[in-house]
């Protein structure tokens, strides 16, 4: 039963796309249309089926039902290579780049510039790669190994790579997640350029403001179902969120002010580490949320790791509640009541192949055991308490962490540190890749800590997030603190101003 039919006015038409994983419908009869030179924003919470949909379009998955038309002709896309040949170019969330290869090699991976069927033409590759990088406004030595680049730079390489092939459709999955102000600007520039060439673009992002800035059409999914599609201009932010989440979400937030009378929980002085951190000093009071703004590579994560002793510092002192301490390892940090919720959940946050329970207990093993022997009951209570407190959605304490949604995984990481009763929490990009619903929850959780008198250091690349959450904001750039604000007397622009490395100031 064919729902739609080929129509050459569209670049892509998808009708009744359905996909099951072991009986669970990830996609259920989803339609989507994409015109030439259009930006179609896929919106929906995590698990709504956005990624599945584009993976089907780009041949990574096969759909169980439905039809796909490309410029009006029906196509069966059975593998990534085929999708490429059809001109469907995805840039995935997890950048499909390889650290051990050079930039040029990455750009042309899969369609190398060759002398003949077999031999690679290095020079030509390098020349063209340089040109492409220049086109999207970042010049760099393309002989460099990708491993040496910052995440943002990698993102740019990924885009260049996508453009290296004759593309009809460009798919951007959460490109902005790792981007900050300046790079985002460039990205949008690039997207607009591509649009002019008549390329259709499918854009996925959790940051709704981007949707409204760059998008032409919005396609909304929820729980694998097609909720609706509409031109961006006919839709308000509130409506969109409502459609996505299926309920009202109160998003707007009011920072509450920690009174300066509160005791200083954490005091860092002159923290210095190699080239990445130079002479960083700051105060963090109990009950206060200190936002740390800055571009990728400004040294925010490095600062966090230095404080918890994951990386050795060359100079500087750390005082916890007035007492000077030597944090030589995360173990020590744990003892001093400093918790760290890392940036990269899958790499540093969770043991995915372990149970929820074991993940939560990881930080408190010494509390729940005597002489190394576990106290079963105490363990169970601790875990149950955490699960209830943060409303972690899981089949039970013994479900494997890898089967949970991004939001719930993040909650586990948080609760892991709650369980320790840590007085100081450092959250590094706590809402990256977390959907709107869960985001709001996590915000509330964070505020509750603050209310309970925890001291919180919030690292984020989302200026709006920083502004709405923090009491004070310190801006980092090139490993130093460039300025500290009171959050209610600063604008995004100001923050960006201070976040930009001096070297770049002139450009903006």
């Amino acid at each position: 039963m064919s729902k739609g039919s080929g129509d050459s006015r569209y670049v892509v038409q998808m009708y009744g796309i359905t996909k099951e994983f072991e009986g669970i419908k990830a996609l259920d009869d989803v339609d989507s249309l994409l015109g030439p030179g259009q930006v179609n924003c896929l919106c929906g919470e995590n698990g709504a089926g956005k990624s599945t949909l584009i993976k089907i379009l780009s041949g990574a998955y096969q759909c169980d039902g439905g039809e796909i038309y490309l410029n009006g002709e029906q196509v069966r896309i059975s593998n990534p290579k085929m999708a490429k040949n059809l001109g469907i170019i995805p840039i995935y969330q997890e950048l499909d780049l390889i650290d051990c290869l050079s930039i040029a090699e990455n750009i042309f991976l899969g369609n190398e510039r060759k002398k003949n069927a077999f031999v690679i033409d290095k020079e030509r590759g390098i020349r063209e790669a340089e040109k492409m990088m220049a086109d999207i406004g970042c010049e760099m030595d393309v002989r460099k190994n990708l491993g040496e680049l910052s995440v943002a730079q990698k993102q740019m390489v990924a885009i260049a790579k996508a453009l290296s092939t004759q593309s009809k459709v460009l798919i951007l999955d959460e490109p902005s997640d790792v981007l900050t102000g300046k790079e985002l600007k460039i990205l949008f520039e690039v997207i607009r350029k591509i649009k002019e060439k008549g390329v259709g673009i499918i854009y996925i992002s959790h940051r709704l403001e981007e949707v409204f800035e760059i998008g032409d059409v919005i396609t909304i999914l929820r729980d694998g179902k097609f909720i609706g599609a509409a031109p961006v201009k006919d839709m308000t932010r509130k409506q969109l969120i409502q459609k996505m989440v299926g309920r009202e979400v109160d998003e707007d937030v009011k920072p509450q002010h920690a009174d300066p009378g509160k005791p200083v929980a954490l005091e860092a002085a002159g923290i210095t580490r190699g080239k990445v951190l130079s002479d960083v000093s700051f105060l963090l009071r109990s009950g206060e949320i200190l936002g740390v703004a800055g571009l990728i590579g400004a040294g925010r994560t490095e600062l966090a790791r230095a404080i918890i002793g994951a990386d050795r510092i060359d100079k500087g002192t750390i005082k916890v509640f007035g007492r000077e301490v030597k944090v030589s390892s995360p173990t020590k940090a744990c003892q001093y009541g400093i918790g760290y919720i890392p940036e990269d959940r899958k790499m540093d946050g969770l043991v995915l192949i372990q149970t929820v329970s074991n993940n939560i207990l990881l930080t408190v093993l010494n509390q729940v055991s005597r002489l190394g022997f576990l106290k079963e009951k105490l363990m169970r209570d601790t875990v149950d308490h955490c699960i209830n407190q943060l409303r972690i959605k899981c089949s039970g304490p013994n479900q494997l962490a890898k089967y949970l949604s991004g939001g719930n995984q993040q909650k586990i990481v948080v609760s892991k540190w709650l369980a320790t009763g840590a007085k100081i929490l450092i959250l590094d990009e706590p809402t990256r890749g977390v959907d709107v619903g869960a985001k709001a929850e996590i915000y509330n959780i964070i505020r509750d800590f603050a209310k309970q008198g925890h001291a919180i250091m919030l690292i984020s690349s989302e200026m709006s997030e920083i502004l709405s959450m923090s009491d004070r904001i310190m801006v980092m750039s090139e490993g130093t603190i460039t300025k500290t604000f009171d959050s209610n007397q600063v604008s995004q622009e100001e923050l960006l101003e201070y976040a930009l490395p001096k070297s770049l100031k002139t450009e903006v």
Binding site: E105, L109, G110, N111
Partner: protein, 322 residues
């Protein structure tokens, strides 16, 4: 202006260090070689050096295949058994036709290499697959040879003992294979794809690289190298021996790792492996020349391997640091 100069100077300086570090293993080889020269006068003789090279050729060729498989993030523990199998196959077929013998051996090895690739592509840890294959190939050899060693008339000793302008053929073969595969690795599409899937197979797949095909390719190369090494092996012995060549895979792996190949894939150079093989060869050669007691030879070998690897490790760490 002056700033600029000082900067470039600094750059150059850094480059020199980086050069020294990225070739650390050669530094070690050189040092080791010199030390050996002092340790024994017999060592520095031309004849001994040629001997050393021809002795190293078998492991050397195996190490080529091993390095390539390691770069894909794999493993090949079947080398030893493969060697035995080749020797047996050749010994059996050679009475009918020399050419046929080589062909038979090569084809059947490529098939086994393909089987390795197949199971690895099925998602089994390469360590397990090739460990299993080690047993299977060994059994094949024993079964074909009916558990006896097979001697044959045809004289193919030229591969092991013959020489051209004083350079043994086995060394020539080794050098040629080195050159060919170095070219493939660095200059050709499949070669770069080998690095790509070693670095991150999923990304490679999404970039449209046919990961499975590349794996097949790598394991077949490894099998082919085993074949080439096997030819030299059997021509060296003049007998097909189903029960010998035990543990050669460990040697080839050790050489590759000494040469700076990473066990996690994506990183490795054949040039480094070459250095590894030579160090490995010198260890035994010099100890024999110095008449070190057989029992101590193992101990010292172990220690030197550790030192060599550590040496490479430190230099690489600093390289990254720089």
């Amino acid at each position: 202006m002056s700033k600029k100069i000082s900067l470039s100077y600094h750059e150059k300086n850094g480059q020199i260090f980086r050069l020294a570090r990225s070739n650390a293993i050669y530094l070690f080889l050189l040092l080791f070689f010199v030390a050996a020269c002092f340790a024994s006068p017999h060592f520095r003789s031309v004849s001994n050096i040629t001997t050393l090279l021809s002795q190293s050729s078998i492991i050397g060729i195996l190490a080529i295949g091993q390095t390539i498989v390691l770069i894909t993030g794999g493993f090949d523990l079947s080398h030893g058994s493969f060697l035995a199998l080749v020797s047996v196959l050749i010994a059996i077929v050679i009475p009918t036709s020399i050419f046929g013998a080589f062909l038979a051996a090569m084809v059947s090895l490529l098939v086994l290499g393909f089987v390795n690739g197949f199971f690895v592509n099925k998602g089994i840890s390469p360590f397990i697959v090739t460990l299993g294959m080690q047993g299977i190939a060994r059994t094949l050899a024993l079964w074909l040879a009916n558990s006896k060693s097979i001697s044959f008339k045809a004289d193919i000793s030229v591969f092991a003992y013959g020489s051209l302008f004083g350079i043994p053929y086995c060394v020539i073969i080794w050098v040629i294979l080195m050159a060919v595969f170095a070219f493939i690795l660095n200059k050709t599409v499949p070669g770069r794809h080998i690095y790509a899937i070693g670095g991150n197979s999923e990304s490679a797949r999404l970039s449209g690289v046919n990961v499975e095909a590349v794996r097949y390719f790598a394991y077949c190369i490894s099998a082919f190298c085993s074949f080439a090494a096997g030819v030299i092996y059997v021509s060296k012995l003049g007998v097909g021996m189903p029960d010998k060549a035990v543990g050669y895979e460990m040697d080839s792996i050790a050489c590759a790792i000494i040469g700076g190949t990473s066990l996690f894939g994506g990183v490795g150079k054949l040039s480094g492996t070459l250095a590894g093989v030579l160090i490995y060869g010198i260890i035994t050669n010099i100890q024999n020349l110095m008449g070190v007691s057989a029992y101590w030879q193992d101990v010292i070998k172990g220690l030197i391997i550790l030192v060599a690897v550590y040496f490479n490790l430190v230099s690489n760490r600093r390289q990254r640091g720089a």
